[in-house]
């Protein structure tokens, strides 16, 4: 009976192929857009460093003035001041690794005048940044603490910069010029794919910075800072100038702008927290940290859970795409209903000749499943082109400072998403087809037999 129902379902699909195609197209377009958004949301919301994301914590301490307003969520708490950053780096707990960063920018030049200078974003970091966040190296490596402490002019560049400035060759030992400084290339990163740029808390999707310099060099040479500064009232007026000048005043101020991370093994978590509180108590004795002690250690998982929930663009886009999918499904159901109701006479006859109600249901369920499958398949193709389009928009928005291979995974359907699209296509088509199937299978056997 199954094979006969399958035969009938195929025959029905071939009957009025334009209606069948319209139904499949409606499902495919709706599903395609829905899956495009779902894929971006899913890929962009992936937690990086999944194997240790539970143990990598953003460190926050409330050093604000006594008059500061209460915060609505821990993510609103300020970053870390420079002096607290250096003090925390002195904390010595076995197995604990600490790293910090802030954003900068610059124009990279090389000796070869045929090569265009490259203006790009960058990160000022300490040496442990490379190991904590597991940056992949194509050539060379990062710097060690000795080089860092000496303030040496060294740099690690991205694969993109290496391709643009050195034609993709091993540039370790070569020099680059940033503004008026000459820096020696210590390492070239391989493609470092990040679902979003979490380490500076921007969570901007898709690509990391293009060069990395030691914080000592950046401070000594007054490299610009593209961070936001949370300052006490005394420094509020000149906070804007901290972007490019007044470095000495900034590093001794209560302005917070450094993003501070700690990789803490489970067994050291309590000790770390305890030391953090002890540190603040010590600082209180020196007249700092006027407010009640407040610290946060938020691991990567929790941060991404929060950020994914607050991604307004993706959330709105997600709601719109879901509504659009629903409208497409309604259209598909309307077409299916019209298609099914055209054959009331045939169904009535089949019922009279002995077809059971469940046989009629099965025949139409098979037909709907085939439509859902084909809609799902075509939806994946639509989604592929949708994702390509979104990726190109993203590259355009980044002013072409990012390569396709850097962000491709963000706009790529993996097996999970392909499976999700298939199952969604079939289930949604089936669920929305309940009404047309219910209508057709309830045609009374005697109702249409008298008609001419």
């Amino acid at each position: 009976m199954l094979s006969y129902n399958f035969e009938l379902a195929l025959k029905s699909l071939k009957d009025r192929p334009s209606l069948t195609f319209l139904t499949i197209l409606a499902i495919a377009i709706g599903l395609g857009l829905y899956t495009t958004v779902k894929t971006m949301s899913y890929q962009g919301g992936q937690v990086p460093l999944a194997h240790k994301s539970e143990n990598i914590f953003l460190v926050q301490m409330d050093n604000r003035e006594i008059t500061a307003e209460e915060i609505s969520h821990q993510s609103r708490l300020v970053d870390t001041t420079y002096k607290d950053t250096l003090n925390l780096m002195d904390m010595d707990l076995p197995g604990v690794r600490q790293s910090f960063n802030w954003s900068t920018y610059g124009i990279l030049n090389v000796e070869d005048e045929n090569i265009n200078p490259q203006r790009t974003t960058a990160a000022v970091i300490n040496s442990d940044f490379f190991t904590m966040f597991e940056l992949p190296f194509l050539y060379g490596n990062g710097w060690d603490k000795t080089i860092e402490d000496s303030g040496e002019a060294v740099i690690v560049i991205s694969k993109l910069m290496n391709d643009k400035l050195f034609g993709g060759k091993n540039s370790v030992g070569q020099t680059v010029r940033i503004n008026n400084h000459i820096l020696k290339v210590l390492g070239v990163l391989d493609t470092w794919y990040l679902p979003s740029k979490f380490y500076n808390r921007s969570f901007w999707p898709g690509y990391p910075d293009n060069f990395f310099i030691p914080y000592t060099f950046a401070i000594n040479n007054e490299m610009p800072r593209s961070a936001g500064f949370d300052c006490w009232a005394a420094n509020a007026e000149i906070a804007r100038s901290f972007r490019t000048e007044n470095t000495e005043r900034l590093i001794n101020s209560e302005c917070a702008w450094v993003t501070f991370w700690a990789e803490i093994p489970d067994e050291q978590f309590d000790n770390y927290q305890h030391q953090l509180v002890s540190y603040i108590e010590d600082q209180k004795a020196l007249g700092r940290f006027p407010r009640e002690i407040l610290t946060y250690l938020t691991n990567l998982n929790d941060q991404f859970t929060y950020i994914n929930g607050r991604n307004d663009f993706m959330n709105v886009f997600g709601i719109l795409s879901t509504l659009f999918f629903a409208v497409c499904l309604l259209n598909a159901v309307g077409i299916l209903l019209a298609k099914f109701m055209r054959r009331t006479k045939e169904v009535s006859l089949r019922r009279a000749l002995g077809a059971k109600k469940r046989t009629i249901i099965m025949q139409h369920v098979i037909e709907v499943v085939i439509i859902g499958l084909l809609g799902g398949l075509l939806g994946i193709v639509v989604s592929y082109f949708g994702l390509q389009g979104m990726m190109n928009i993203h590259i355009y928005q980044s002013d072409y400072s990012v390569r396709v291979e850097d962000i491709k995974p963000l706009f790529q359907m993996d097996l999970t998403m392909i499976g999700y699209a298939f199952i969604t296509g079939i289930i949604c088509t089936l669920v929305t087809s309940i009404y047309p199937i219910w209508r057709i299978c309830n045609i009374p056997p005697a109702s249409q037999l008298k008609s001419q």
Binding site: R350, A352, L353, G354, K356, P445, A446, L449, K450
Partner: protein, 233 residues
């Protein structure tokens, strides 16, 4: 073989109740050829639908081949229709996009027969109606009389005990009607019980028995009376 006891059928809407059949008592024996006559709207089709287990009824009992069909599940009614009853309709009700072979195959498919057995039965049924050579044709390639013969082949392929024919010659000219009638008589002569609704007095007269339905009430007339009733009408 077919026995109705006090069977009533009422169609209800919010405003009105229509008594389509009133307390029908009827017994049709195996092998009979019964004609059903009556004016339009008298309840002939309702009677045929009840007899064919196409509709349910509220009151009375209906025994078909010894089984009371009242209260049976929809699935069981489908099985009864498939196994015990063959339907012939005025408008043939062939599926236009299926060849004759596949049209005759429809009820057999729902019985779950093997492919070989179905093929044998279909060929035999089409041979009986003289259309075996055209089994790959579509219904639209046939005349009205030929289409009705295909419908008869579909009805007899499953070797049912009953044939229910609803004005089987209503859409045919007299010559074709004659051929179809002869075919039905031939089938009846081999033991199949036939109940035929018709408006044609001459055809009704050829049945063993005539049942007249007026305003939902059945008058069961023996052959000798049939002729008198028809003559005086």
């Amino acid at each position: 073989m077919l026995r109705m006891e006090n069977v009533s059928k009422i169609y209800r809407t919010e405003l009105i109740e229509t008594h389509a059949l009133r307390k029908v008592d009827l017994h049709i024996k195996s092998g009979e050829f019964v004609s059903v006559t009556g004016p339009s709207g008298s309840g002939k089709t309702t009677f045929l639908n009840l007899a064919g287990a196409l509709e349910t009824f509220e009151e009375g009992d209906y025994f078909l081949d010894g089984q009371n069909v009242k209260g049976l599940s929809d699935d069981r009614l489908s099985e009864i229709r498939n196994e015990k009853i063959g339907f012939i309709f005025q408008s043939f009700n062939l599926l236009p996009d299926l060849p004759l072979f596949d049209n005759v195959d429809v009820p057999l498919r729902y019985r779950g027969m093997s492919k070989k057995e179905r093929k044998e039965r279909i060929e035999h049924a089409l041979e009986t109606v003289g259309l075996v050579s055209r089994m790959k044709h579509l219904p639209t390639q046939l005349s009205g009389g030929q289409q009705q013969r295909v419908a008869i082949a579909r009805a007899i392929a499953g070797e049912p005990k009953f044939l229910l024919a609803d004005e089987p010659t209503g859409n045919l000219d007299s010559l074709m009607a004659q051929q179809v009638m002869e075919l039905l008589e031939d089938i009846n002569s081999k033991g199949t019980t036939i109940i035929m609704v018709t408006h044609d007095d001459q055809l009704a007269r050829r049945a063993h028995r005539n049942i007249q339905i007026f305003d939902g009430q059945v008058s069961d007339l023996e052959k000798s009376i049939v002729d008198d009733v028809i003559r005086s009408a």
